[in-house]
Symmetry: C2
Subunit: 182 residues, 2 copies
């Protein structure tokens, strides 16, 4: 990983981070779902009194590398979650290294730095989700000690979008015969 | 749901909430994993400058019901998550109604109140996990509009425990020949 260092992201990195978020979504074949912007990242991660996430970035160390390619070539974005059983925990939302910079240990360095942050914040665990067809990612995490909870314990993810929530609320109000529920 | 109202939890509710957390873990056959305490809940949810979670509770409305059984008979505990694609979102960590109080619409009322909170906080989605053998829970959420992302998109959950993180960090340091990684 000579030539690339991992450091905490700063507000000025958000343009490059959103570029990589878009690249990762394209790899996951879900790029139409990206609604966020550099401005949104700045507001949520750097201007909120309690930032909604923490981000680490991998940066080219010397001027020559920066002239040849992008300044930032990877990122790891995580946020707190809360386990009712164990308390404060950390969730790794995204870990990404640009394809032409893979195989240099940059992903390992980002994950290890996230692991260190997780422990130093007193978190009970580090958790993340992967797509079942993304075997390189599954192998990457499992070879570093990650436990596949979907296989071991049978967890499945359910999501409600805003339109689902509005539908649920209005159906519940109908059932109660009470349009102003709360 | 006559006789039970849903309201925001208060610091003084934590003893009853931890009792119900323990009951839910027993139902999920994972009760040995509960390390949290009423004191931990108070600190993390009510004394932190940025509380790590939000909790709604279902409470017996009249004195007679409170004399007959517990004051609190259900809870819904959620926390912020962050989607790099869509920004601030809400995660429903636990939704629980005591077995003898089911079938009265209390679970629906807790979920609907969480849905309203989710929208009023400007969250992009409400998300949760269920165990694959817990068909009543899967049906409950799906009948209210929840989408099963593990089936639809193939998401799987990976977890690292602190011992896994320490192992990863020390292995990475060996590989780098650098015991002081950061």
């Amino acid at each position: 990983m000579a030539g690339y260092k991992v450091r905490a992201a700063e507000s000025g990195d958000c343009e490059e981070i959103i570029r990589m978020i878009q690249e990762l979504a394209e790899y996951e074949k879900l790029s139409d779902q990206v609604k966020n912007t550099a401005e949104g990242l700045r507001r949520d991660g750097f201007e909120e009194p309690s930032p909604l996430f923490r981000c680490l970035v991998a940066e080219a160390e010397d001027e020559q590398k920066r002239a040849e390619g992008p300044r930032l070539v990877g990122y790891a974005l995580s946020h707190y979650i809360y386990s009712t059983w164990e308390g404060r925990s950390l969730y790794l939302e995204d870990l990404y290294v640009m394809p032409s910079y893979r195989g240099k240990g940059i992903g390992s360095k980002l994950l290890t730095a996230t692991a260190e942050m997780c422990l130093s914040l007193g978190c009970a665990r580090l958790q993340l989700s992967v797509l079942d067809w993304n075997q390189p990612a599954i192998s990457f995490y499992q070879s570093r000690g990650g436990r596949n909870l979907s296989d071991e314990e049978g967890w499945r993810i359910i999501r409600f979008l805003p339109e689902d929530l509005r539908r649920m609320i209005s159906k519940n109000a109908e059932r109660d015969g009470d349009p102003g529920l709360l």
